[in-house]
Protein backbone atom coordinates (compact mmCIF):
# COMPACT_ATOMS: atom_id res chain seq x y z
CA UNK A 1 0.00 0.00 0.00
CA UNK A 2 1.33 3.45 -0.99
CA UNK A 3 1.99 5.82 1.94
CA UNK A 4 2.30 9.55 1.36
CA UNK A 5 5.44 11.41 2.40
CA UNK A 6 5.41 14.12 5.04
CA UNK A 7 5.82 16.77 2.29
CA UNK A 8 2.78 15.43 0.42
CA UNK A 9 0.66 15.64 3.57
CA UNK A 10 1.89 19.19 4.15
CA UNK A 11 1.02 20.00 0.53
CA UNK A 12 -2.57 18.80 1.06
CA UNK A 13 -2.79 20.69 4.34
CA UNK A 14 -1.53 23.92 2.74
CA UNK A 15 -3.85 23.53 -0.23
CA UNK A 16 -6.87 23.14 2.07
CA UNK A 17 -5.77 26.10 4.18
CA UNK A 18 -5.44 28.24 1.06
CA UNK A 19 -8.93 27.10 0.07
CA UNK A 20 -10.30 28.85 3.19
CA UNK A 21 -10.54 25.74 5.32
CA UNK A 22 -8.94 27.62 8.18
CA UNK A 23 -10.07 25.75 11.28
CA UNK A 24 -7.36 23.29 12.36
CA UNK A 25 -9.71 20.50 13.53
CA UNK A 26 -11.75 20.55 10.30
CA UNK A 27 -8.63 20.70 8.13
CA UNK A 28 -6.95 17.89 10.05
CA UNK A 29 -9.84 15.51 9.44
CA UNK A 30 -10.15 16.55 5.80
CA UNK A 31 -6.40 16.18 5.22
CA UNK A 32 -6.55 12.62 6.53
CA UNK A 33 -9.59 11.83 4.36
CA UNK A 34 -8.04 13.29 1.20
CA UNK A 35 -4.66 11.64 1.91
CA UNK A 36 -6.29 8.23 2.49
CA UNK A 37 -8.27 8.51 -0.76
CA UNK A 38 -5.18 9.62 -2.72
CA UNK A 39 -3.12 6.75 -1.31
CA UNK A 40 -5.77 4.31 -2.43
CA UNK A 41 -6.04 5.85 -5.90
CA UNK A 42 -2.24 5.89 -6.31
CA UNK A 43 -2.19 2.25 -5.32
CA UNK A 44 -4.87 1.14 -7.75
CA UNK A 45 -4.02 3.41 -10.69
CA UNK A 46 -0.22 3.51 -10.28
CA UNK A 47 -0.08 7.30 -10.68
CA UNK A 48 2.10 9.93 -9.03
CA UNK A 49 0.99 12.02 -6.06
CA UNK A 50 0.56 15.27 -8.01
CA UNK A 51 -1.41 13.66 -10.85
CA UNK A 52 -3.72 11.92 -8.41
CA UNK A 53 -4.10 15.02 -6.25
CA UNK A 54 -4.99 17.18 -9.27
CA UNK A 55 -7.61 14.73 -10.55
CA UNK A 56 -9.03 14.23 -7.07
CA UNK A 57 -9.40 17.95 -6.46
CA UNK A 58 -10.94 18.55 -9.87
CA UNK A 59 -13.81 16.25 -9.04
CA UNK A 60 -14.04 16.68 -5.26
CA UNK A 61 -13.07 20.23 -4.32
CA UNK A 62 -16.65 21.53 -4.41
CA UNK A 63 -17.76 18.70 -2.10
CA UNK A 64 -14.91 19.46 0.32
CA UNK A 65 -15.78 23.15 0.46
CA UNK A 66 -19.43 22.33 1.05
CA UNK A 67 -18.37 19.94 3.82
CA UNK A 68 -16.41 22.78 5.38
CA UNK A 69 -19.57 24.90 5.53
CA UNK A 70 -21.45 21.99 7.10
CA UNK A 71 -18.66 21.51 9.64
CA UNK A 72 -18.98 25.17 10.69
CA UNK A 73 -22.79 25.04 10.82
CA UNK A 74 -22.45 21.89 12.94
CA UNK A 75 -20.06 23.66 15.34
CA UNK A 76 -22.50 26.58 15.72
CA UNK A 77 -25.45 24.27 16.33
CA UNK A 78 -23.47 22.27 18.86
CA UNK A 79 -22.50 25.41 20.84
CA UNK A 80 -26.09 26.73 20.85
CA UNK A 81 -27.34 23.33 21.96
CA UNK A 82 -24.84 23.29 24.83
CA UNK A 83 -26.08 26.72 25.91
CA UNK A 84 -29.69 25.53 25.87
CA UNK A 85 -28.87 22.38 27.84
CA UNK A 86 -26.88 24.36 30.43
CA UNK A 87 -29.64 26.99 30.71
CA UNK A 88 -32.21 24.36 31.65
CA UNK A 89 -30.11 22.82 34.42
CA UNK A 90 -31.12 23.30 38.07
CA UNK A 91 -27.84 25.00 39.16
CA UNK A 92 -28.44 27.63 36.46
CA UNK A 93 -31.87 28.41 37.89
CA UNK A 94 -30.31 28.70 41.36
CA UNK A 95 -27.65 31.09 40.03
CA UNK A 96 -30.42 33.10 38.35
CA UNK A 97 -32.34 33.28 41.64
CA UNK A 98 -29.25 34.34 43.57
CA UNK A 99 -28.23 37.02 41.06
CA UNK A 100 -31.81 38.30 41.00
CA UNK A 101 -31.77 38.65 44.79
CA UNK A 102 -28.38 40.42 44.80
CA UNK A 103 -29.39 42.72 41.91
CA UNK A 104 -32.66 43.65 43.58
CA UNK A 105 -30.92 44.46 46.87
CA UNK A 106 -28.26 46.51 45.05
CA UNK A 107 -30.86 48.42 42.99
CA UNK A 108 -32.67 49.50 46.13
CA UNK A 109 -29.51 51.35 47.21
CA UNK A 110 -29.04 53.50 44.07
CA UNK A 111 -30.85 56.52 42.60
CA UNK A 112 -33.31 56.16 39.72
CA UNK A 113 -31.48 58.84 37.67
CA UNK A 114 -28.23 56.85 37.73
CA UNK A 115 -29.81 53.55 36.77
CA UNK A 116 -30.09 54.19 33.01
CA UNK A 117 -26.32 54.80 32.88
CA UNK A 118 -25.65 51.58 34.76
CA UNK A 119 -27.94 49.63 32.43
CA UNK A 120 -26.21 50.90 29.29
CA UNK A 121 -22.86 49.86 30.74
CA UNK A 122 -24.02 46.40 31.73
CA UNK A 123 -23.81 44.60 28.35
CA UNK A 124 -20.33 46.03 27.73
CA UNK A 125 -19.18 44.97 31.19
CA UNK A 126 -20.47 41.46 30.50
CA UNK A 127 -17.84 41.14 27.70
CA UNK A 128 -14.94 41.53 30.12
CA UNK A 129 -14.99 38.14 31.92
CA UNK A 130 -15.61 36.29 28.64
CA UNK A 131 -12.69 38.05 26.93
CA UNK A 132 -10.38 37.38 29.88
CA UNK A 133 -11.20 33.65 29.88
CA UNK A 134 -11.02 33.37 26.09
CA UNK A 135 -7.80 35.29 25.55
CA UNK A 136 -5.94 33.91 28.60
CA UNK A 137 -6.95 30.33 27.78
CA UNK A 138 -5.87 30.60 24.15
CA UNK A 139 -2.57 32.28 24.98
CA UNK A 140 -1.79 29.99 27.91
CA UNK A 141 -2.57 26.77 26.04
CA UNK A 142 -1.37 28.08 22.64
CA UNK A 143 -4.18 26.40 20.77
CA UNK A 144 -4.52 26.80 17.00
CA UNK A 145 -7.74 27.96 15.34
CA UNK A 146 -10.21 25.28 16.40
CA UNK A 147 -13.75 25.61 15.06
CA UNK A 148 -15.49 24.95 18.39
CA UNK A 149 -13.46 27.64 20.16
CA UNK A 150 -13.54 30.34 17.48
CA UNK A 151 -17.26 29.93 16.87
CA UNK A 152 -17.85 30.84 20.53
CA UNK A 153 -17.40 34.41 19.34
CA UNK A 154 -20.53 33.89 17.22
CA UNK A 155 -22.44 32.78 20.33
CA UNK A 156 -21.17 35.77 22.26
CA UNK A 157 -22.16 38.13 19.44
CA UNK A 158 -25.75 36.83 19.57
CA UNK A 159 -25.83 37.11 23.37
CA UNK A 160 -24.33 40.61 23.30
CA UNK A 161 -27.04 41.82 20.91
CA UNK A 162 -29.64 40.19 23.15
CA UNK A 163 -28.12 41.84 26.26
CA UNK A 164 -28.17 45.23 24.51
CA UNK A 165 -31.78 44.77 23.45
CA UNK A 166 -33.08 43.77 26.86
CA UNK A 167 -31.05 46.50 28.57
CA UNK A 168 -32.52 49.19 26.29
CA UNK A 169 -35.97 47.65 26.66
CA UNK A 170 -35.79 47.63 30.45
CA UNK A 171 -34.47 51.23 30.42
CA UNK A 172 -37.87 52.36 29.10
CA UNK A 173 -39.53 51.02 32.24
CA UNK A 174 -37.23 52.76 34.68
CA UNK A 175 -39.43 55.51 36.04
CA UNK A 176 -39.69 54.71 39.69
CA UNK A 177 -38.29 52.31 42.27
CA UNK A 178 -41.41 50.15 41.82
CA UNK A 179 -40.15 49.06 38.36
CA UNK A 180 -36.83 47.84 39.64
CA UNK A 181 -37.83 44.20 39.64
CA UNK A 182 -37.82 44.29 35.78
CA UNK A 183 -34.31 45.72 35.84
CA UNK A 184 -33.25 43.09 38.36
CA UNK A 185 -34.59 40.32 36.09
CA UNK A 186 -32.68 41.76 33.11
CA UNK A 187 -29.47 42.04 35.13
CA UNK A 188 -29.75 38.50 36.43
CA UNK A 189 -30.42 37.15 32.91
CA UNK A 190 -27.28 38.92 31.64
CA UNK A 191 -25.13 37.74 34.56
CA UNK A 192 -26.39 34.15 34.42
CA UNK A 193 -25.90 33.90 30.64
CA UNK A 194 -22.42 35.46 30.92
CA UNK A 195 -21.44 32.86 33.52
CA UNK A 196 -22.83 30.08 31.32
CA UNK A 197 -20.83 31.30 28.33
CA UNK A 198 -17.65 31.30 30.44
CA UNK A 199 -18.44 27.77 31.66
CA UNK A 200 -19.06 26.55 28.08
CA UNK A 201 -15.87 28.29 26.87
CA UNK A 202 -13.77 26.51 29.51
CA UNK A 203 -15.46 23.17 28.79
CA UNK A 204 -14.84 23.44 25.03
CA UNK A 205 -11.21 24.53 25.50
CA UNK A 206 -10.61 21.60 27.86
CA UNK A 207 -12.31 19.21 25.45
CA UNK A 208 -9.96 20.27 22.64
CA UNK A 209 -6.95 20.06 24.96
CA UNK A 210 -7.90 16.52 25.97
CA UNK A 211 -8.76 15.30 22.48
CA UNK A 212 -5.79 16.81 20.71
CA UNK A 213 -3.28 16.59 23.55
CA UNK A 214 -1.16 19.41 22.08
CA UNK A 215 -0.43 17.09 19.19
CA UNK A 216 -1.97 19.11 16.39
CA UNK A 217 1.18 20.24 14.60
CA UNK A 218 2.29 17.93 11.80
CA UNK A 219 6.00 17.59 12.36
Amino acid sequence: MVKLEKEDIQFIENYLENSDIFYADIRMEMTDHVASEIEQLMDSEHTTFYETFKDYMLSNKAILLESNKQFIRGADKSILKRLMVETLKLPTLLVFGLTFFISFKWLSTIEVENLRDYMSLFPILSIVPFCIVYVIALNMFKLPRFSGIERLAFLYMICFQFFNFISSFSGVYIQSKSNFYIVAVVMSIIMTLSLLIIKITLKIINQYRNNYKFNYEIE
Binding site: K3, I9, E29, S67, N215
Partner: protein, 112 residues
Protein backbone atom coordinates in the same frame (compact mmCIF):
# COMPACT_ATOMS: atom_id res chain seq x y z
CA UNK B 1 -25.25 6.90 -2.32
CA UNK B 2 -27.33 4.68 -4.59
CA UNK B 3 -30.55 6.46 -3.66
CA UNK B 4 -29.42 8.99 -1.15
CA UNK B 5 -32.89 9.99 0.02
CA UNK B 6 -33.79 6.43 0.98
CA UNK B 7 -30.52 5.81 2.82
CA UNK B 8 -30.20 9.23 4.46
CA UNK B 9 -32.48 8.42 7.38
CA UNK B 10 -30.45 5.31 8.18
CA UNK B 11 -26.99 6.89 8.06
CA UNK B 12 -26.71 7.31 11.83
CA UNK B 13 -27.77 3.71 12.40
CA UNK B 14 -25.23 2.50 9.84
CA UNK B 15 -22.43 4.46 11.56
CA UNK B 16 -23.42 3.25 15.03
CA UNK B 17 -23.64 -0.37 13.86
CA UNK B 18 -20.18 -0.26 12.25
CA UNK B 19 -18.63 1.33 15.33
CA UNK B 20 -20.36 -1.24 17.49
CA UNK B 21 -18.59 -3.99 15.58
CA UNK B 22 -15.10 -2.53 15.94
CA UNK B 23 -13.15 -0.85 18.68
CA UNK B 24 -12.69 2.47 16.85
CA UNK B 25 -12.89 3.77 13.30
CA UNK B 26 -11.93 6.93 11.39
CA UNK B 27 -14.04 8.70 8.78
CA UNK B 28 -12.47 7.34 5.62
CA UNK B 29 -12.43 3.83 7.07
CA UNK B 30 -16.21 4.03 7.59
CA UNK B 31 -16.81 5.08 3.97
CA UNK B 32 -14.64 2.22 2.72
CA UNK B 33 -16.24 -0.33 5.01
CA UNK B 34 -19.73 0.63 3.82
CA UNK B 35 -18.59 0.53 0.20
CA UNK B 36 -17.06 -2.92 0.67
CA UNK B 37 -20.00 -4.40 2.60
CA UNK B 38 -22.51 -3.18 0.02
CA UNK B 39 -20.22 -4.06 -2.92
CA UNK B 40 -20.15 -0.42 -4.00
CA UNK B 41 -23.93 0.00 -3.96
CA UNK B 42 -23.83 2.50 -1.12
CA UNK B 43 -21.25 5.28 -1.12
CA UNK B 44 -21.21 7.68 1.81
CA UNK B 45 -19.85 11.09 0.88
CA UNK B 46 -17.75 13.14 3.31
CA UNK B 47 -20.44 15.82 3.16
CA UNK B 48 -22.90 13.40 4.74
CA UNK B 49 -20.58 11.39 6.97
CA UNK B 50 -18.65 14.02 8.94
CA UNK B 51 -21.61 16.18 9.99
CA UNK B 52 -23.31 12.98 11.21
CA UNK B 53 -20.20 11.93 13.16
CA UNK B 54 -19.85 15.37 14.73
CA UNK B 55 -23.53 15.42 15.68
CA UNK B 56 -23.15 12.03 17.39
CA UNK B 57 -20.02 13.29 19.15
CA UNK B 58 -21.84 16.42 20.37
CA UNK B 59 -24.68 14.23 21.67
CA UNK B 60 -22.21 12.22 23.70
CA UNK B 61 -22.78 9.00 21.72
CA UNK B 62 -19.21 8.97 20.40
CA UNK B 63 -15.88 9.85 21.91
CA UNK B 64 -12.82 10.78 19.90
CA UNK B 65 -9.16 10.02 20.01
CA UNK B 66 -6.58 11.79 17.86
CA UNK B 67 -3.47 9.83 16.90
CA UNK B 68 -0.56 10.40 14.59
CA UNK B 69 -0.67 7.80 11.81
CA UNK B 70 1.31 7.80 8.53
CA UNK B 71 2.68 11.37 8.90
CA UNK B 72 -0.69 12.88 9.71
CA UNK B 73 -3.20 13.21 12.50
CA UNK B 74 -6.18 10.91 12.44
CA UNK B 75 -9.39 11.30 14.39
CA UNK B 76 -10.81 8.01 15.60
CA UNK B 77 -14.39 7.63 16.78
CA UNK B 78 -15.63 5.07 19.26
CA UNK B 79 -18.93 4.44 20.99
CA UNK B 80 -19.53 5.65 24.51
CA UNK B 81 -21.71 3.75 27.00
CA UNK B 82 -24.62 5.95 25.92
CA UNK B 83 -23.71 5.24 22.28
CA UNK B 84 -23.87 1.47 22.84
CA UNK B 85 -27.38 1.78 24.26
CA UNK B 86 -28.44 4.06 21.41
CA UNK B 87 -27.10 1.54 18.87
CA UNK B 88 -29.35 -1.20 20.26
CA UNK B 89 -32.37 1.07 20.17
CA UNK B 90 -31.59 2.42 16.65
CA UNK B 91 -31.13 -1.11 15.29
CA UNK B 92 -34.46 -2.18 16.77
CA UNK B 93 -36.09 0.87 15.19
CA UNK B 94 -34.56 0.04 11.83
CA UNK B 95 -35.68 -3.60 12.01
CA UNK B 96 -39.22 -2.49 12.82
CA UNK B 97 -39.08 -0.11 9.88
CA UNK B 98 -37.86 -2.83 7.50
CA UNK B 99 -40.64 -5.16 8.72
CA UNK B 100 -43.28 -2.48 8.19
CA UNK B 101 -41.95 -1.70 4.72
CA UNK B 102 -42.04 -5.38 3.82
CA UNK B 103 -45.68 -5.54 4.88
CA UNK B 104 -46.47 -2.53 2.72
CA UNK B 105 -44.40 -3.44 -0.31
CA UNK B 106 -44.93 -7.17 -0.37
CA UNK B 107 -47.97 -8.15 1.75
CA UNK B 108 -48.26 -11.60 0.16
CA UNK B 109 -45.00 -12.71 1.77
CA UNK B 110 -46.36 -12.22 5.27
CA UNK B 111 -47.62 -15.49 6.74
CA UNK B 112 -50.89 -15.02 8.60
Amino acid sequence: MANSKLYKGSLVTIILKLLNESDKMYGYEITQKVKALTKGELKITEGALYPALHKLEAEGLLEVEVKKVDNRLRKYYKLTEKGNKETVSKLQELQEYIKTMQVLVNPKLIVE
